[in-house]
Symmetry: C2
Subunit: 668 residues, 2 copies
């Protein structure tokens, strides 16, 4: 829910450490903003300790001659937690907390007194100091992605803590507009930090350090007031007014950039899958709102889970850190005939514990699903050519058996494994034969299976959904017989087929193979494998397939590779994604869903093994009751759900997605 | 030069901040290691301040009853830098510094007193505290990649600084074996840090805090000695002996892992381009050394710049931070019909300021050079089909014009744009015609150009190298006439050709186009674009090419895409790589090389514009004198150098690389 308003410039203030002067510098920023005739909002979302010492009270006290423009607020006020008999209100959840902060900011944006308002949101402690819920500051405020001011540490050791805090902010995608710190003349940290940050495009500004605290409150007020007056005065060249100007510039630059991006994109970018001829106006790409009190940035619902690549939410911190760690440790690794931990670990877990368990012997890594499929094709072509001793001219005519409507990526070879369609290019040559697949679904609370009416007219119904996957029990139905006959006839032209299956937890299992009771010789995993962060694909192969490329000459090897094959960032992200997915698969929410679907099947006891073969593996994160109710709606033609997936077809609109297994079958 | 020895366990000690107890805890580790009968080396590479207060002196003083096993050493001893009249020795360069640290560690490894030795290398200040040369600790010690102990901060704010320091270490690829901190009973930071780090696979251990410093030196020695005695005693369950065991385990695990990796790799990994049948023994993948005093990890010379992907050295910190920043800010972005800063910025700079300047209008982003080429092929096929109104059957027969020996990636479509060869698969169909390219080189100090003798027998020589690129002046030579005739004859079968050029600074220019005085309609950039970190490719296209896909129906669009098209990590790394390359191109070392080659050409003045068109752009980072001398060696058949590239062919060994422009030409 990133927030950005045209007329309200909001900055969040993080500290490189506790006690670096965050409140003093934020107070001074508030006062300087007001001195420049801006309405100013100061928000300290959480305040701990006695009211008279609260930061918002301090800000009000020293708001200066333009105090009428200043509003200082706290959302959650707690007593000192360790104090005996402390009166503490309930600690909000992270979601409730961030929602209330966002609401407050939106309210301020819609409540203008002056043409331009400023807002400073002060965090507590250092960048990673825990909130009361236990999340650290950085992760807690991250949904708002507010532009950031980092208050550096001017003390001994402050160079290190300032740079580290900056790196923690960067690692979570915060953009630092300004580093502010006291001009301590003994340690002179700014002398090092100024050029260091300038190289990284961040301006460091220094401010005179505050006077020592006076014991007498009256006297303390006077010297403090004098100090604030000095550092926010126009005559102080090194003062804060320059910082205000910098922050204004950054804010205006950000809005200008945002407004210019749609047209600039239309001028220079060539999007995949998009007919640019249909996009004439700059409003056509997602365009910022016009109303000044509405945030220019708003959350969007990601209805396709980002092309089915998302698993753990966008920019999950564990995946971010994995990317950073692999980049920092390895950079590039020359993979052929060398080994390194992230690639080896990924290969081993996919082959031995993951979807390859029980059948695969090797993992071949490439860059994306389409290249992963090209590698699978090369494997299948070689195995078939060797097994049947085809001559080169016969080899060129080898085709794949697949399912109608299947699609394996856009490279020309992968497209040749599909029928001709709108996605094929001039060179396309459909190499193979594609069967009409059976369809499965739920309608009016009953599971059904059907094939195109030309093959068999009737739809077979059963109950519950797991009945569909009791494959052996269904083999005797007349529908199965009719479909078998259809396939037998088509196969007279062909030889052997080797199924390729996929899944990787999307359907609630490591692989779809146990669900169908058949194991492949080759399978390809991509998309979900890297949780949306970076492209990577793995083609798993059985030992027979691997041995077909073994020999004494390099020309017999699988001579396919990419410069970045098994690159460290991709492999490490994949490992972290699989760690997280396996954690989810063992976790309570998956177990509860499995119990619910087990009850639906009429089974009473929960087995220890959460993922079992065949029909028992039929379960979904969507409840049986919800799926049942959906299937009974008039507007719904059919619904299907397995694992994380819910698909439905709308009666009046054929554009609704019909869920089907679109796995190709290779001729060998 | 990562160091790892079988019989010497080395750990580097970093601090989350200054004054967190690094020296106290390292002293205690030394004493505990000795108490367990290990020979112990303590190294404080840089010590500042008076000798009696030096950390190595402290370690010796409190080495405990097994002090005979302890050796404490300092490599560079400086007076307090800010002290008046300080006696400071010369500050070593980063390279000299790390070489001397590595030498000392190697010496200790080869000097065994006991079967197993331990070593602790203590850094100064926090993780990012500057060394005397100005580099921060983390970057300075990074070449050694020693396993790491992080001393956490037990004070107020210490949770944040400990986590941030850990993230800075991770971002540079350090592996943290242990987090150690004082068990401060008031702030109790360990209570938060223990589960936080456990989730990340790192064990947090706490140690009793030290007693307050006594004013009387004798008394201070007694209480300090008592303290060290207590925390290193076997009876102290929470003490340091457990930490020693953990570090030993980690060390042994590391070595076991390293030794098992070759065989495990042979069992599970399917490498690209490798004939597994030729690799029978586990020693065949790069295998650790057997001698215990030799490091199990050693630097390797990366002779191909990691398949020509490297530009700035492995795992450059700026690229690492770019990867982290993009991962943290964006995660995944659904690119079609949406825009976001890293992708837009990359498209704009390549089209308007980079290699597309003057001819390109659009950037189409994909995952690697091979997919980038497939997109280029689809563009060319569409343009040709539209321009000449080819029917679908004619479109399938369209071919490319290219150069013999060219190679554009391994996907089946990209391979079809090459002649049949060992890299082609069963489906391969060579679609096009490939010319013998002219060869250029330097022999005996003279530049030459030649074509295969069947086309024209003579080799034409000239001087200096820039003469080769004075294309217009050479058009009248008999060699040019003969080659033109050869091409004209071949072209009677074909229509128009559109050249594709590449370069992207590798040859010292943004693009090779100005060098040849011809501009392309389509060009593809990958490899160097992301500095070796992550795969990405950009296909640039002219406006005519882009308009060939414009229309009112989506089916006319370029329907090619990948789930991770224009993914944030890739685009941000590319932008950072280009920033760095442009900085190099403006920098002193490139300017000096350009001046040297200008002098070689007999030109006296240095022009303001560092990169100019045509023959003036002929320069290399290898000096003219070196290239000249190399070309005169008997063993060298020919040499060629441009920009960053030096290529040579060895007389007796045809396997040497002959540099040639291998750009395809498209039929339109």
């Amino acid at each position: 829910m990133s927030l950005l308003f045209k007329n309200l410039r909001v900055h969040q203030v993080f500290g490189a450490n506790t006690d670096v002067g965050k409140t003093i510098l934020t107070s001074a920023l508030v006062r300087a903003s007001a001195a420049k005739k801006n309405q100013v909002f100061y928000l300290k979302p959480v305040s701990t300790g006695p009211l008279q010492d609260a930061d918002d009270e301090h800000v009000k006290r020293y708001a200066g001659p333009h105090r009428a423009l200043v509003n200082a607020h706290c959302l959650y006020r707690f007593d000192e937690p360790r104090k005996e008999g402390a009166r503490n209100v309930v600690v909000p959840t992270d979601d409730a907390f961030i929602t209330s902060v966002a609401s407050y900011i939106r309210k301020c944006a819609s409540d203008p007194v002056t043409e331009r308002s400023h807002m400073y949101v002060e965090t507590a402690g250092g960048v990673h100091s825990p909130t009361l819920s236990g999340t650290t500051q950085l992760d807690s405020y991250r949904p708002l992605f507010l532009p950031t001011i980092l208050v550096g540490d001017s003390r001994l050791g402050g160079i290190s803590s300032t740079i580290s805090a900056y790196e923690s902010l960067s690692l979570r995608g915060y953009i630092v507009d300004s580093v502010l710190l006291f001009q301590d003349e003994y340690y002179r940290n700014w002398e090092y930090l100024e050029p260091y940050f300038a190289e990284r495009g961040v301006k460091v500004s220094t401010v005179d350090p505050p006077p020592p605290r006076e014991a007498d409150p009256g006297r303390n007020f006077i010297v403090t007031e004098e100090y604030y007056n000095k550092i926010t005065s126009e005559h102080n060249t090194g003062g804060l007014l320059n910082v205000i100007e910098l922050l204004d510039e950054r804010h205006e630059g950000r809005i200008k950039e945002l407004h210019s991006m749609p047209q600039r994109t239309l001028n220079t970018v060539w999007w995949p899958f998009v007919q640019h001829g249909l996009i004439k106006h700059e409003g056509d790409p997602s365009s910022p709102s016009a109303a000044s009190s509405v945030s220019l940035l708003e959350s969007q619902f990601d209805g396709s889970a980002s092309w089915w690549t998302q698993t753990l939410g966008h920019a999950h911190p564990a995946l971010t850190l994995a990317a950073a760690r692999a980049a920092g440790r390895y950079g590039h690794v020359m993979y052929p005939q060398a080994t390194y931990a992230p690639a080896l670990r990924l290969a081993e877990r996919l082959v031995h514990e993951g979807p390859g368990k029980g059948w695969a012997s090797r993992a071949f890594i490439s860059d994306n699903g389409s290249t992963g499929m090209e590698i699978a094709l090369k494997m299948a072509l070689r195995v078939a050519s060797k097994k049947f001793g085809f001559a080169p001219q016969e080899q060129k005519k080898l085709g794949v058996l697949g399912l109608k409507g299947s699609y394996h990526g856009d490279t020309i070879g992968a497209m040749d494994a599909c029928e001709e369609g709108v996605y094929s290019c001039e060179w396309h040559e459909a190499k193979g034969y594609w069967f009409e697949p059976p369809s499965i679904g739920i309608k009016n609370g009953r599971a059904f299976i059907e094939v195109p009416s030309a093959i068999a007219p009737e739809r077979v119904e059963g109950q519950p959904l797991s009945w569909i996957y009791n494959v052996s029990a269904r083999l005797g139905t007349s529908l199965a017989t009719a479909y078998r006959k259809h396939i037998d006839m088509a196969l007279r032209k062909w030889r052997i087929m080797v199924p390729l299956f996929t899944g990787l937890w999307r359907l609630g299992l490591r692989s779809a193979a146990p669900l169908l009771g058949a194991y492949p010789d080759v399978s390809v995993y991509a998309k979900i494998l890297t949780g949306g962060m970076a492209p990577l694909a793995v083609t798993l192969a059985s030992d027979d397939v691997f041995r077909a490329f073994e020999g004494t000459s390099k020309t017999e090897a699988l001579l396919h590779g990419h410069s970045y094959t098994a690159y460290a960032i991709g492999c490490e992200i994949a490992n972290e994604t699989l760690d997280q997915l396996e954690g989810l698969a063992r976790g309570d929410s998956w177990k509860a869903a499995q119990v619910a679907w087990k009850a639906e099947r009429g089974e009473k006891e929960m087995e220890k093994e959460t993922v079992v073969d065949g029909d028992r593996a039929v379960w979904s994160l969507w409840s049986p009751q919800f799926v049942d109710a959906l299937s009974k709606l008039g507007i719904i033609d059919q619904v299907m759900s397995l694992g994380t997936v819910l698909a439905f077809k709308v009666t009046d609109n054929d554009a609704g997605a019909l869920f089907r297994f679109a796995s190709p079958f290779f001729v060998l």
